[in-house]
Structure formats: C-alpha cells, structure tokens
C-alpha cells in the first residue's frame, strides 16, 4: 500500500496544499503592502428626545447625528451611512427605536446592535453614574471557568475550544481512516482474489494471520500518514498567518486526552478494519465490496451525525449506550473526552471494544476460510450464517 500512488498523493498532498495556501496568502499580503485600514461603518441617528449626543465613537461603529429623518435617508441612499435609526420622543418610556437600512436581513448585525446598545446605555447613564459603572453595565462580566473533579481539585479536562477541536480532529481522522483504509483493504483483497495470489498466501499463512497482517499493515500505513500530517502541521504553523496560527498554537491538548484518543483511534480502526476484511472476503468485486461496506461506514458515522448532541449532553443515556456499543464507542468517547467522562465508562468501553475485535477476528477468519476462494459468486446471508454455524 505504501507504494500506491493514491496513498503517496494523499499523504503528501494535504501538507502541500496547506503550504501552498500559506505561500499564496503571504504573497498576496506582500504585494498589497500593509494591511488596509479597517473601515468603521457609519450609523446615522435622529435624536427626537434630545439627550443622545455623547459616546458617538463606539468600537464597532461611528454614530452620526442627523437633524431630520429625511437628511439621514438621503445619506443612506448615497451610501454615506449604512443604516440609520430614529430615537422617538417616547423612547425612554417605550424603548422602541425605528431602524432603516437598504438591505433585507434576517436580523440586524451583531456589530450594529452592540454599537447602538452601548451608545444608548452611555448616554442614558452619563449623568447618573461614573464612567466605570457605565462600562460595567455595558459588559457586566467576563467568565473564567474552572472545572473541579470529584475530590475538589482542578480537573485535568477543562473542556473549552481545545478539547472540542481535539475531539473533532480525532473523530474526523478515524472516520477518514475507516473510509480510506477500508477502500484499500477491499481493493487489495479483491485484487488478490482475482489474480489468485490469495491461494498462494493461504498456503503460507492462516486466514487469521492474513487478516491480522493486512489490517495491521494498513493501520500502520494509516498511522504513518497521520504522523506525517501532524508533523507537517507543527512545521507549517509558524508560517501561517498570525490570526490562524495564533488560534491553533493556543490550543492545549492534555496528555491523558491525547493518549486515550490514540487508544480509541487504534481500537476503532482495528474493529472496522477486521469487519471490512470480512466484507472483502465475501465480495466478488471491489465495487460490490464498497456497496456492502456502506452499512459499516454508516454505523461508524452515527456519532459524527450526533456530534452536537453528544458534546452538549455529557451523561445522557444515549451517550452512555453509544460509548459502550463497540462500533460507535471510539468516536463517541473521543467526542466526550474533552467534556469529561466517567472512568468506569472508559474501562468498560475499552474492554468491550477489545472483546469485539477478538470476536470479529474469529468470525472474519471463518468467513475468509469459507468464502475467500469462492470466485465470482456472492454468498447469500443464509450461506454466511450456515458457514459460521458449521465452523
């Protein structure tokens, strides 16, 4: 597999594309010179109350006073301002503003809303409280969150963006590995069946050794690919733009989460690799094999489809079931690791996964033995069940 063009291309292409993107971005930056000045949007307003004249320079917008709605409307149409609002005479009692813009929108942009809100608060409180209190009213709190474990100490997994990213990244890598490696596995097995190499191989090794060898070989190749990607990520990070580079370099991956993610990654890959090998033994052609393997791919993808639910509902019964059920365990547990998951669930799910791997290896070996040398015919489900019973 290591010599396959598609494998080499996939392995090298991803870092190369990232490098190319960085080079192009930096090139564009150097050609266009210094970053252009950020244009602060202008928002017009008509104050019919007569108390709103201060704090017109907000971080997200500059507020321009107008004597009349018509003057504001004229400037809106000739693009001097992006929108305007009217503060009616009864505003203090009603709290209602009239807003006008040229664009249809789902709701006003966050920047405009915040700027108008801060502008109104600053003016309403300017004679009542100190500027510090006004600022606190505008931004009442910044939350510093700390997760404690059951003994009251600071827990290792603190959740947050890094944990989400790690869960997402490993889940995505496992899913990609399952899809790509199983494709290679199926293709390889079907080719070896077609060119009769399989018969020669089985005269030298047992069917169990053959499956284990193929799955481990492809798994090692998959890990090499991931290691190359991770090393390239580390090497390319310093060259990335400050905004993206800063975001990624600020991520903290706790060692326990990394190790557990790797364990689940390997166990998950082994389980699906063995199942796919079983499919490869039955399938008469690569195309049929891909169709037959769709069921496993779908099962593998269930936690990915439920990702938001899984991450937001820590100990929900469905999460526990998905964490213990071997085919969905790797992805589900990886997703929950960042948020914290009871130790017993981790131990139980690893034990069940190992049992499932050994069980599927034994079953796949039997299927191999019976169907691998059956050329040009797809056995029925009944045939498979019968052969497993007889074996």
């Amino acid at each position: 597999m290591l010599k396959r063009t598609s494998y080499i291309l996939t392995t090298i292409l991803l870092p190369l594309v990232a490098l190319l993107a960085i080079v192009i971005y930096n090139l564009v930056q150097s050609i266009s010179g210094a970053p252009t000045e950020v244009k602060i949007p202008k928002i017009g307003y008509v104050d019919q109350v007569g108390i709103f004249s201060a704090a017109t320079n907000q971080p997200g917008a500059e507020l321009i006073p107008y004597e009349s709605a018509d003057a504001a409307k004229a400037d809106l149409i000739n693009d001097t301002i992006k929108e305007y609002f009217i503060i009616p005479v009864d505003y203090v009692a009603s709290g209602v503003l009239e807003r006008f813009s040229l664009k249809t929108e789902l709701e006003p942009g966050q920047g405009s809303s915040t700027a108008i809100e801060d502008f109104l608060i600053a003016n309403l409180l300017k004679n009542a409280v100190s500027p510090d209190i006004t600022a606190r009213v505008q931004a009442p709190y910044t939350l510093n969150n700390t997760v404690l474990d059951e003994s009251g100490n600071v827990a290792e997994g603190q959740g947050g963006f890094g944990a989400y990213i790690l869960s997402y990244l490993f889940s995505l890598l496992l899913l990609m590995s399952i899809f790509t490696a199983s494709g290679f596995l199926l293709q390889g097995l079907v080719e070896e069946k077609e060119n009769r190499v399989m018969e020669v191989l089985l005269s030298s090794v047992s069917s169990r050794q053959l499956i284990a060898g193929k799955v481990l070989g492809l798994g090692a190749a998959g890990l090499v690919q991931i290691v190359i990607w991770l090393v390239s990520y580390k090497l390319l990070l310093p060259f990335a733009s400050s905004s993206i580079g800063g975001l990624f370099s600020s991520l903290v991956f706790p060692p326990s989460i990394v190790i557990l993610s790797l364990i689940y990654f390997i166990l998950g890959y082994l389980l699906y690799g063995i199942l796919m090998a079983g499919v490869g033994a039955i399938a008469p052609s690569a195309q049929t094999g891909q169709q037959m393997s769709t069921i496993f791919s779908l099962v593998a993808a269930i936690p990915f489809m439920l990702m938001v639910f899984i991450i937001e509902n820590g100990d929900h019964a469905l999460n526990i079931v998905l964490s213990l059920f071997p085919p969905t365990a790797p992805l589900t547990v990886m997703m929950r690791l960042g948020q914290g998951i009871p130790v017993w669930e981790i131990i139980a799910s690893i034990a069940l996964l190992v049992l499932a791997i050994l069980g599927s290896l034994a079953l796949a070996a039997r299927i191999f033995r019976t169907f691998l040398l059956m050329y040009g015919k797809t056995p029925s489900f009944k045939d498979i069940v019968r052969s497993l019973r007889q074996a």
């Binding site: 060119n195 399989m198 018969e199 020669v200 030298s204 090794v205």
Partner: protein, 298 residues
C-alpha cells in the same frame, strides 16, 4: 514414515459430500499423480492438504504430525492458476514469498538468484511480472514453490502454458526434487506426464477415490487378454488356450482364453520355430484407464 497421510477425509458443502472418505499416502522420494475429471474434488482435496480449508472429518498428516499452521513451511504449493502480483518485479515476488515461508530476505534473494539461473530467467529478475510471458510467469511460480526447499510439493497443472523446452526443464526439476527425497503430489489432466513421472496414482471421481496404487500395479490390473505378435511373416500354427487368432502380413493378434498366460503362448511360438520380432501384451494407457473409469461413473 509416509510424507503425507490422508486418512478418511470428508468435506461437505450443504448436503453434498464434495470429498467423501478419501485416503491415500505419499512416500518420501515419490511422486503421486492426483487425477480425476473436472469437478471431481481434486482442488478441494488439495486445499485440505494445504490447510486452506478444514476437513469436516478425517485427518491429514505431514511427516507424522497433524497438518496445522506449523507444517505450512514444509509444503510448497503451485496453484493451477498463476497467483502473482502483476506490478511486482520477479525478484521482489520471490523474496516476498520466500519470507512468507520463514526465510530471511537475504537468504530468499540468494536462493532466488540460483533458481532463476536454473530456469534461465536471470536476465528478467528486475522485470515486472506483467512483462513476462505466460510460460515465464509459470517458471517464476514454480521457483516460488521450491525456493524454501519444502519437504512436500503440491503441483497443480505445472505444465500449463509451457513450450516443449520449458516443459522438459520442469520435468527435470520435478525429477530432481524427487531425487532429493521430496514427496510430490502432481495434479494434472496430462496422463502421459503422469505415466512419465509418477510412481503411484490416486484417481478421484465424484468426491470418492476410485483408483489407487502404483502405476505398474494399475496397468497390470487393467491389462487386457490380447497379444500382439510380429514375426517374419510365417503364421503361427495351432495355439492352445487362445480363443481367436487374426493374422495379417507380419502381424498376428491373439486373444487369450481365460486362464492362459502370455508365457504359455510364447512357449508354443518358440516350439513352432516362429521367428518372433515383437511380442507384446496389449496394456491400456493411463489415458484409456482414466476414460474407462470416468466413463463408467459418468
């Protein structure tokens, strides 16, 4: 101790006994011809011999031990259809198969070079398998079978696709392997090759053993009661113990009566002073025997 003992082996698929209580032995330094019509159960028998599929009953013993994973390195298997990686080079292929049989890559490469010289393919060792002719690929497959110096060789149609020169070469290699004490099972439809190379024959039909024994014994068993005599043209006189005599030119065909031996007929010819230039007990070829048995079971 026989090199191979197949004892009452049974393989059933569904309700059908594909192989039914088959038993035979192969001695060391001997070649057994495994013959039978298409679909008779030869391939299933071979796969059970190779431990690729497990028998439902019975046992296969190699050099006295029950055949299992440990015994696989003792066997070299040449399948009927070529099983080679098309995009691998000849040398890489041989080294790969050698290492599967427990050799180190260096050892496998050294032996591969020696064997490629033997089959005149040294110049092709860096070529990909897909660049070789069918006959050349067949020779590479044979080399991969004998590379690890196995004690038992199972050769399924080894002469397929070979020209007469290479066919002779393969026959010599097979004969040499026998000379080195290897036990060989030769499965083929070419009866003349079986007659030329094999010490014994096992014929399977509809999953059952229908013919077994040394080639000489089998021929004796199927020998007819017809004699062909060639002489100087003098017709033989009255012969006792014969049921009919046909004479034409220098050739006389005599059918012996029940209980008469060729020796008794020859003695009478000598007494009659017939100048015998040829005296032959007509024996059927293995091909005739095969057709006769397979035809009876058809």
């Amino acid at each position: 101790m026989p090199a191979v003992e197949v004892i009452d082996v049974v393989k059933t698929y569904g309700d059908k006994n594909v192989v039914d209580k088959v038993s035979f032995n192969v001695e060391q330094g001997q070649i057994l011809g495994l013959i039978g019509p298409n679909g008779a159960g030869k391939t299933t028998t071979i796969r059970m011999l190779m431990d690729i599929i497990k028998p439902d009953a019975g046992e296969v013993r190699i050099l006295g031990q029950t055949f299992g994973e440990d015994a696989k390195d003792l066997v070299g298997y040449l399948p009927e259809e070529r099983g080679l990686y098309k995009r691998m080079t000849v040398m890489d292929t041989l080294v790969y198969f050698g290492t599967l049989k427990g050799m180190t890559p260096a050892e496998a490469a050294a032996r591969a070079e020696k064997w490629l010289r033997r089959v005149n393919l040294s110049a092709h060792q860096r070529k990909k398998m897909e660049e070789l002719s069918h006959g050349m690929a067949q020779l590479v497959q044979l080399v991969s079978t004998v590379l690890h110096d196995p004690r038992l060789l199972i050769l399924d149609e080894p002469f397929n696709g070979l020209d007469p020169v290479n066919m002779q070469l393969v026959k010599e290699i097979i004969a040499n392997q026998r000379g080195e004490g290897k036990a060989i099972i030769l499965s083929t439809h070419r009866m003349n090759e079986v007659e030329e190379l094999c010490d014994s024959v096992f014929m399977i039909d509809k999953g059952e053993g229908v013919l077994q024994g040394s080639l000489a014994d089998i021929k004796r068993r199927f020998r007819g009661n017809t004699l062909v005599i060639e002489s100087d043209g003098t017709p033989p006189g009255n012969l006792e113990g014969v049921s009919s005599v046909k004479h034409a030119g220098a050739r006389t065909e005599v059918v012996m009566a029940e209980g008469t031996t060729p020796q008794r007929v020859l003695e009478q010819l000598v007494k009659q002073r017939v100048a015998v230039t040829r005296f032959e007990v007509v024996t059927p070829s293995l091909n005739d025997i095969f057709i006769r048995i397979a035809g009876e079971n058809y």
